[in-house]
């Protein structure tokens, strides 16, 4: 922008722009100090954001360990955190094998569910009749408890991969559809009009305006779907199957191995968190402009 200030004054454009640049350079000097102060403040805030929850978890674990060690709750009912960690280590290779099975089902179901959710959302956005027709069905499908239909799916599709994937698809497509439809509708109608004055086709309007505008909400939906995917797969395994963390859970429950029960619960949480982290990472890649927006705030 510096080039403007050196331009001849005859051109009205250059003059006004040049004056503004001079002002912004002065602001720049004061802005540097302010930026540093803000950075310090932010660093402190960031430290706090990590320290407080870490301390909370540490306190809970300490209380839990103490409750078991002091015999307030009998050890055969509640294992101590240390015992859980040992169980996790002892069964590591077995858990890895079951995790792989669960993750495969969850990933497959999530990918199909996302694809189905995307297609349904696009159709609902494009055709009002489809929207009217599917709106109640999509909503009702979410009121059906997954635990209730899982046994039916086992009955219909057997003990293999299919019923798990179907259950994951059913529970993941809804957040995707709802978030995408909301995202498409959030586009400013004036922007669509502006695109029309450029003679943009419906296809161009969709890919250049609607899809990018819907990405933010889409990723919120995908985060929710990612957690549903793991839980859905585990529930389906729980009700019938040969491998997966749900199967492992039923086995350790039957043998009253509560330490392993806790170990698998923690593992499921960790897997869900990892999947959510993956979604966040994808969002950062897909929406580079979000970082600039956050910086402005």
């Amino acid at each position: 922008m510096d080039s403007h200030s050196s331009e001849p004054k005859a051109e009205p454009t250059a003059t006004s722009a040049g004056e503004k640049d001079g002002a912004s350079r002065q602001e720049g000097v004061a802005g540097g100090e302010r930026a540093r102060a803000r950075e310090r403040r932010e660093r402190r805030a960031r430290r706090r954001r990590v320290a407080v929850p870490t301390l909370t978890v540490a306190c809970i674990l300490a209380v839990w360990q103490a409750v078991v060690a002091l015999g307030i709750v009998p050890n055969f009912l509640l294992p101590s955190p240390v015992q859980v960690v040992y169980a996790l280590a002892a069964d590591a290779s077995l858990l890895a094998m079951h995790s792989a099975a669960t993750l495969t089902e969850a990933a497959l179901g999530l990918v199909i569910g996302t694809a189905v959710g995307f297609v349904v959302a696009v159709l609902m956005d494009r055709f009002q009749t489809v929207s009217l027709a599917l709106d109640p069905i999509v909503t009702v499908s979410q009121t059906i408890p997954t635990v209730a239909i899982a046994p039916l799916l086992v009955l219909w599709f057997g003990y293999g991969l299919a019923p798990k994937v179907v259950l994951v698809v059913i529970s993941t497509f809804f957040p995707i559809t709802v978030s995408l439809v909301g995202g498409f509708r959030s586009v400013d109608p004036d922007l669509i009009d502006l695109m029309r004055t450029m003679r943009a086709s419906r296809w161009q309007i969709f890919w250049k305006v609607k899809m990018p505008a819907a990405l933010d909400q889409f990723f919120s939906g995908l985060r929710i779907s990612a957690t549903y995917a793991i839980v859905g797969a585990v529930i389906a395994e729980w009700l019938g199957g040969f491998s997966g963390l749900g199967v492992y859970m039923t086995r350790v429950r039957k043998s009253f191995a509560y330490d392993r029960m806790f170990a698998v619960i923690i593992l499921i949480s960790v897997l869900s968190l990892a999947l959510m982290g993956l979604v966040d990472w994808l969002q950062r890649i897909a929406m580079p402009w979000k970082r600039a927006e956050r910086k402005e705030d």
Partner: protein, 262 residues
């Protein structure tokens, strides 16, 4: 960019437009005739809700008038979008595209390969006071700069007629005054025909060569109509908009428009 047509017709002309909301149920404006020549800045002034935006929509071809025609250099373009450029109060830059790609949008939509569109747009950044913003995201720019980018995008639509719907009203007062005189300078310099709608009489009198006064209250059943056409006594030579706004000629013009608005 063509500045004037050979047949002597004005760049943009509206002939006896009658417009309605909800398909003829509710007439908004009746018998609207106006013309904008090349290199001219014309304002259409009216109170809020008198149907200014509806008229602009019809002129842009986004909507079909009940009666009347829109002519572009004498050619009938009624109800055909894409022949005149349209700029709104909101800059409507896409947050997901960098400034360079935002301004290239009309070219890319028209089928120009992206690298060619960029090569065409890049040399214009300096002239539009946007140097250094090519790789920035819209959220990193101030309101005035965003509006400049929106104007460059409008310019790259390649039409010589631009419609403006209160394009500066979202800016703060000082930026607005700057942008207004900058825009009018650019528009006249490029030989474009600009038609701006506004409810601000001061804005109209500082920008325009001529002012059309639109009067009516369609919400209470009185369709709007053009009450008068007022020529702005713009001084010859290099008088700034701020200085012009203090002259008796300016005040007389403003008084006349205000009295016509009723």
């Amino acid at each position: 960019m063509a500045t004037s047509s050979d047949n002597g017709a004005p760049a943009l002309e509206a002939r006896h437009l009658t417009l309605s909301w909800d398909e003829g149920e509710h007439v908004v404006a009746r018998d609207v005739c106006l013309a904008v020549g090349a290199g001219e800045v014309v304002c259409l002034v009216g109170r809020s809700g008198c149907g200014k935006t509806t008229i602009l929509h019809a002129l842009s071809g986004l909507t079909q008038p009940l009666e009347g025609r829109v002519l572009l250099h004498g050619e009938d373009v009624t109800g055909r979008p894409g022949r005149v450029s349209y700029m709104l109060q909101k800059d409507l830059l896409l947050p997901s595209k960098r400034i360079l790609d935002n301004v290239c949008l009309p070219l890319v939509i028209a089928g120009t390969p992206v690298h060619e569109a960029r090569a065409k747009a890049e040399p214009l950044f300096e002239r539009f006071g946007l140097s250094g913003t090519e790789r920035m995201w819209p959220s990193e720019l101030s309101g005035g700069m965003r509006q400049r980018a929106a104007f460059l995008r409008t310019y790259l639509m390649g039409n010589d007629v631009t419609l403006l719907d209160e394009p500066f009203s979202a800016l703060d007062a000082l930026t607005r005054a700057d942008m207004r005189s900058w825009y009018c300078g650019m528009s006249r310099e490029l030989g474009m025909a600009s038609l701006a709608i506004t409810h601000d009489v001061d804005e109209a009198a500082t920008m325009a060569d001529r002012i059309y006064v639109l009067r009516g209250d369609p919400r209470s059943g009185v369709p709007s109509a053009i009450a008068a056409e007022v020529a702005v006594p713009r001084p010859a030579g290099n008088v700034s908009a701020a200085e012009f706004a203090l002259t008796p000629a300016f005040l007389d013009c403003k008084r006349e428009v205000l009295s016509l608005l009723g």
